[in-house]
Point group: C2
Chain length 304, copies 2
Amino acid sequence: MSETVVITDVGPRDGLQNQPQVLSVEQRLQLVNAIADCGVPQIEVGSFVSPKAVPAMAGTGQVFSALDAAEFVTPTIALIPNMKGYELARESGVKTVTMVVYASDGMAQKNVGMSMAEAELVTLDILKLAKEDGIEVIATIAVAFECPFDGATDPAVVKNIVAKFLAAGADQLVLADTVGAAHPQQVRELTATLVASHGAEQLGCHFHDTRAMGLANVYAAVESGIRRFDSSIAGLGGCPFSPGASGNVATDDIAMMLQQMGFKTGIDLGKLMQASDLAQRLTGTAPGGRSKTWLQGYLAKQVD
Amino acid sequence: MSETVVITDVGPRDGLQNQPQVLSVEQRLQLVNAIADCGVPQIEVGSFVSPKAVPAMAGTGQVFSALDAAEFVTPTIALIPNMKGYELARESGVKTVTMVVYASDGMAQKNVGMSMAEAELVTLDILKLAKEDGIEVIATIAVAFECPFDGATDPAVVKNIVAKFLAAGADQLVLADTVGAAHPQQVRELTATLVASHGAEQLGCHFHDTRAMGLANVYAAVESGIRRFDSSIAGLGGCPFSPGASGNVATDDIAMMLQQMGFKTGIDLGKLMQASDLAQRLTGTAPGGRSKTWLQGYLAKQVD
């Protein structure tokens, strides 16, 4: 019996907010539905941020309302940057929120104008409230491996954050390689230590492919027992505040690799190619999975 | 003290013979010199095949003579397909030859019109002669993981070939993922078994990036103790007889990843970018490393 890996497609949030084309609510719904149709088990649908700061995420409340009205069944997630975002998400009936925690002062200052410790306190306050409200919380640790401002991240900082947030009741912790700088040996070591301390069930990873090591890092984390990964349809993504960061690992590539390794992902690769095509058409900039040419040829042969 | 990984750039052979542009002897020498200038420790310079079958490799003898005349110091390798090729290589003063051994009947038939066993006998005959002549022999096992004609390769077949050729005096055995179909778990398992039986010193790996898993496979092999890898400048490469195969893992990417992991490769990344640019200019089709955009930006910043 094969093991399951849970993929969360973050393309409609991390992807869309980091490319120039601003999609309409209708187009965002089209993309979310196409991703769900593939069997992707979780989707990060949008973020409740200031529309002035991130125009691509304006109307996230409408996206959630429309999904509710359509009785959308795939579990959805909203990213929230602060208490105001949390309140908006709660009003929109969001059941799971992702909050960003920082593993460096440089990134915390750049993103939210606070020190790492100050930002952590804000996040712990929201976590407490969310627990009372019965809302699931994913804490994503930004720059968990390297920060473009402060350099290599001390693994001890990440270990402390994970322990503190699990103790405070967070449902999941995600190690984010925000700028795509991690190498697989580093990933293997940090994830092995964390899995040894906390088990793998509540841990996930989020990689970018900036230095072409995205899939190598996924494999390294799998070797440590990690079974939850963020990825982005057609490789959409990046980070506007991180110099040199490029797209997330493509859902196209990670699904293919994990399935080839014998894991169940629940994802239909044929339908995934259609969703990837749609993401490319809607944005004009999504690169598509790096294995896409091969995968399309392979799938075409299977049909013949 | 950091460990060393030995990279062999096979771009001037595996790369050039699998792209449409036929380079002159002068241009091939220019490329070989540029690769040597980076500090790449070994270069597969060309093959002694029929110029009718592979026009891009016509004049390989002249390339070797010119390198000899210039007192070229980087160790060089020639690929030889058969006894005639071996004799031509010997006449040209080649000190190390690579011979292809097949792990499937389908690929052996397609490439040399023999069964796997027949092709093996021919190769063992050449190996015997080369030992007498004092010429080093690398045996590259084609389709060591999967064959486009016969499907998944039985690891037992590969283990037998490795044991037989080491016993017969081969200096190195290289596991080639000829069509870029291997996944990292498969690589980890086969390499771990082989290293347990024979040690890592005489074993190497050769990956293609067709399904985007090239660097993941390199990392998996590194985890098993493998410290020798083939790669190709600017990701040049492919295999004309393997449907769907694309370029070799780029030297650009593998050197960056291994150095980031703390290994010594002897390669200067700045000069490597220049060699990669040259490969792209000369062929018009070399993709360049997938980390090249990032790497160039990073190197530019270091200089500032």
